[in-house]
């Protein structure tokens, strides 16, 4: 009784036709009778002959009846061109029988007897009647045709022959031809113009006992015969959770935006209008991966492999080496040759064969350029993402955004099926074009939002994370300051230290504001030279004077800047202010500080950075970002701001950024007895008592000095005296 409860599985015969078995859930049921219908030239005969050659052997014989359609001789000659054709099987596997004569002269009953006679003799596994349509002409009524077909089908079934009845049947006949209700299966092959091209399609309309695909699937007939493409069936997203650490792109600073990295299996749209850098970003993603030991593949539909190689070489990448050592593969498919379904499967095969962990598609919008429907575009994009997901790779899918539209993909639906979107954009600024990168979306990853500057130049792409975004971003433990609370740092100007209550607090930010030529840069140099004396590396970032000018100025003031630079304790970086972009400074400084292990930093001419920005709120964001970053890195900073006023005290920096400073030092002129005299006022110190009085300063040999003629001149600042007494009393 147990046997009665068991489900029996129907034995199936495989077809040897690419993907057809998958559509049939394993193949044609053994013993079934199937009509293969379609218009002339659609590929019916080739399809069935391919199945026959795949199955034929001395043990599994094939009986192929030709009726009044294609003569056997012709059929054999055409067939011999295909790779599946095997001459040996014609003598020991497939037997062709021409029924032409008997069909012309005898009744269908005679035909039936003849067929049965051959059946008893050969005992075939497969029987083909090509074409069966001829019997519609030979029978005198629908009833006769039905009876003939029924009895033939029964006899073929009794002999367990899997039968294919080929015929020029149209879609309209499915409804009313009795033949279609008798047979077990119906496969229709058609051809029509689709997306501007003549294409072939196969559809399994009916197959008893089989959970088969019911969709139309495109197919091609090539040297290997019929190949059906069915990504909807063959590319199924596997339920896989990320199997390794997240992907770091290796592209300069981009990973800072991407938080912990991109989860494996993710696909990101790289969206932008033409010329925004999509191709280079995708290519560099693959190239950097190869350098890290991750294989990558680029599917390009516009640029040939040689042009991509040339572009890479132009940026200084040794992509040729990575290709030669098998880490990168570039697959170029000319746009006119794109066949979406076929190439989706090709992509799967190539990704699997290479073991690619990085996949770039340039571009998905070109790949799907013949697709007119957003729904189809969405489905195909999902299938591409599934390929990436199943390979546990990371995909960069470039896509063109139409100009002047508020979209981040061509159809406006692709972004819904990918895991992330990076938007590339550019704006015209003066004579230059400024590029931007924005991580618009990245699932399961805390990323930096907003638009960030991006450069493409020697070495590749550099992203400059926006100052305000990075300032608010959580930092790793490694990035935290190690400064000691309340430790003092000598400014290099003893009188100023006295005004500040003993020096600058370590890790603090001091803003020095004053008009041109009053001594701001000199003070900055002294600050670094004091650090140099204490072996604390210092960085002088100048937006005004070149290093040569600074060194000459230092020499004229007997400041040993040259020696400190030669000793490697002071580094001077000059940023031509007409070239520098505020967003890029933060990234550059972070790198430089990391390299030099900077303890003291002077940003001379910070006001020039601010002049690049329009809104006061942006001024505050930039300065706040800079100061926050310096504090995180444990750097004591001095920022100088040029003011337009010589004497006024109603404003300090002119920029509304004073609240951000820990120490605010104002350099101003006053009317002296013999003309203008420079003064210094400590307007603010955070966390420390200080002297509010204005003191004269002089700039001469040895630099800036507090004290001189007039005002509070000549007196030791009160705060310093108090602080000294306090230290003396302390145990």
């Amino acid at each position: 009784m147990t046997a009665m409860k068991k489900k029996t599985t129907i034995e199936r015969i495989t077809t040897g036709v690419r993907n057809l078995d998958a559509l049939l859930n394993g193949g044609f049921p053994r013993g079934s009778t199937t009509i293969v219908g379609g218009t002339p030239g659609a590929g019916k005969t080739t399809l069935v002959q391919q199945i026959c050659f795949h199955q034929a052997s001395p043990e599994q014989r094939v009986l192929y009846f030709n009726t009044l359609s294609e003569p056997t001789a012709k059929s054999l000659r055409y067939m011999s061109q295909f790779a599946f054709f095997d001459r040996a099987r014609l003598t020991n596997g497939i037997e062709f029988v021409d029924l032409g004569m008997i069909v012309r002269t005898q009744s269908v009953d005679e035909v039936s007897l003849l067929v049965m006679g051959h059946l008893k003799r050969v005992k075939p596994t497969i029987v083909v009647i090509d074409s069966f349509k001829v019997f519609e002409d030979l029978t005198t009524s629908r009833e006769e045709l039905r009876k003939f077909t029924y009895e033939l089908a029964i006899n073929l079934m009794a002999w367990e022959a899997t039968t294919f009845l080929i015929g020029e049947y149209g879609a309209q006949e499915i409804q009313n031809n009795p033949l279609f209700s008798i047979v077990d299966g119906l496969v229709m092959v058609t051809q029509r113009i689709e997306s501007g091209e003549q294409q072939r399609f196969l559809q399994i309309v009916k197959m008893r006992g089989t959970a088969h695909s019911r969709d139309e699937h495109p197919f091609v007939i090539g040297r290997d015969g019929v190949a059906v493409f069915a990504p909807r069936v063959t590319i199924r997203r596997e339920d896989r959770s990320p199997s390794g650490p997240r992907c770091k792109t290796g592209i300069s600073k981009l990973d800072e935006l991407l938080g912990d990295g991109i989860p494996l299996g993710s696909s990101l749209l790289i969206a932008g209008v033409a010329g925004t850098g999509k191709t280079m970003l995708s290519l560099e993603f693959v190239y950097r991966g190869a350098q890290r030991g991750e294989k990558g593949i680029v599917f390009s539909f516009e640029e040939t492999e040689e042009r991509l190689r040339a572009s890479a070489r132009g940026l200084g990448w040794d992509i040729d080496r990575e290709i030669e050592r098998g880490m990168i593969e570039i697959v170029f498919i000319p746009q006119p040759e794109i066949q979406v379904e076929a190439h989706l499967e090709m992509m799967r095969e190539r990704i699997e064969a290479l073991g690619a962990k990085r996949v770039a598609l340039d571009s998905v919008s070109v790949f799907l350029h013949k697709v007119q429907s957003p729904q189809v575009a969405r489905e195909k994009t999902f299938q591409i993402a599934s390929l990436v997901q199943n390979a546990q790779a990371v995909g960069f899918l470039a896509t063109d955004i139409p100009y002047g539209q508020d979209l981040i993909s061509r159809f406006g639906v692709e972004e819904t099926v990918v895991d992330g979107v990076i938007v590339l954009s550019s704006t015209s600024e003066g004579l230059e074009r400024q590029r931007y990168l924005e991580v618009y979306k990245l699932r399961n990853t805390a990323h930096l939002k907003g638009r960030h500057d991006m450069l493409i130049g020697e070495g590749g792409i550099t992203v400059f994370p926006r100052y305000d975004a990075t300032a608010s971003a959580p930092r790793s433990a490694a990035g935290k300051s190690t400064r000691r609370p309340a430790a003092r740092v000598a400014s290099g100007v003893p009188g100023l230290d006295a005004l500040l209550g003993g020096g600058l607090l370590e890790g603090s930010a001091t803003f020095i504001a004053g008009s041109a030529g009053i001594g701001k840069s000199t003070l900055g140099m002294q600050f670094l030279l004091e650090g140099s004396r204490l072996k604390e590396p210092g960085l002088f970032v100048s937006l005004e004077e070149s290093p040569e000018q600074l060194r000459a100025m230092a020499k004229s003031l007997d400041l040993a800047l040259d020696a400190a630079v030669d000793d490697g304790l002071v580094d001077i970086v000059y940023l031509a202010r007409e070239r520098v972009r505020p967003n890029q400074v933060l990234a550059m400084l972070t790198d430089k500080i990391g390299e030099q292990k900077t303890r003291r930093l002077v940003l001379d001419g910070a006001s020039h950075l601010l002049s690049e920005l329009a809104a006061p709120s942006e001024h505050r964001q930039l300065v706040d970002g800079l100061v926050s970053r310096l504090k995180e890195l444990g750097v004591t900073g001095v920022l100088t701001f040029e003011t337009h006023v010589l004497q006024a005290t109603g404003t300090v920096t002119d920029r509304g950024v004073s609240p951000i400073a820990d120490n605010l030092v104002m350099l101003r002129y006053r009317e002296g007895e013999r003309g203008l005299a420079a003064t210094i006022t400590v307007v603010k110190t955070r966390g420390s008592a200080h002297d509010f009085q204005t003191h004269d300063v002089t700039v001469g040999a040895g630099g800036l000095r507090v004290g001189g003629s007039g005002g509070a001149v000549g007196r030791t600042p009160k705060v310093a005296k108090k602080a000294k007494r306090k230290r003396t009393r302390s145990p």
């Binding site: 009784m1 046997a3 029996t8 129907i10 008893k120 009895e151 029964i154 009794a158 367990e160």
Partner: protein, 139 residues
């Protein structure tokens, strides 16, 4: 799934009850009766046309191995051994017994394969349940 061995075992049991060694006539009756039981039960489900086609195939296959069995005929209600009975001498009785038994086995095998063994339990039951007629014809 039933295999050929199951069908052979079922037919062996039937043959033991209904055929007699060295008596061709008894073997022919055993085939006719067994064939008819299976036929009648399967006819309800499969219909005449299908059963006739299957029967023809079975006889064709067995006759290839035992040519004298080409004298057997498929009829509306089963199998006719009349012509073979006339020519029983063509086979040694031991071979005849084996050949006739094979006809019944092949019928069950083909029916089983074509129906996914769905009918096999009831067809085996037909041959397994003793009837009054069995008592009469018991050797």
């Amino acid at each position: 799934m039933h295999d050929e061995h199951d069908h052979a075992a079922c037919v062996d049991a039937w043959w033991t009850r209904h055929a007699r060694a060295g008596e061709p006539a008894a073997s022919l009756r055993a085939l006719e009766r067994g064939f008819r039981l299976v036929w009648t039960r399967a006819q309800v489900t499969l219909g005449d046309v299908t059963l006739m086609a299957i029967g023809e195939r079975v006889l064709h296959d067995v006759a290839e191995e035992y040519p004298p069995l080409a004298a057997l005929r498929i009829e509306q209600m089963g199998i006719s051994c009349e012509d073979l009975e006339q020519d029983a001498g063509a086979l040694a009785s031991a071979d005849l017994d084996r050949a006739l038994r094979l006809v019944l086995v092949e019928l069950l095998v083909v029916l089983g394969r074509l129906t996914g063994e769905v009918l096999t339990p009831v067809l085996h039951a037909e041959l397994s349940v003793p009837s009054d007629a069995d008592q009469e014809s018991a050797p």
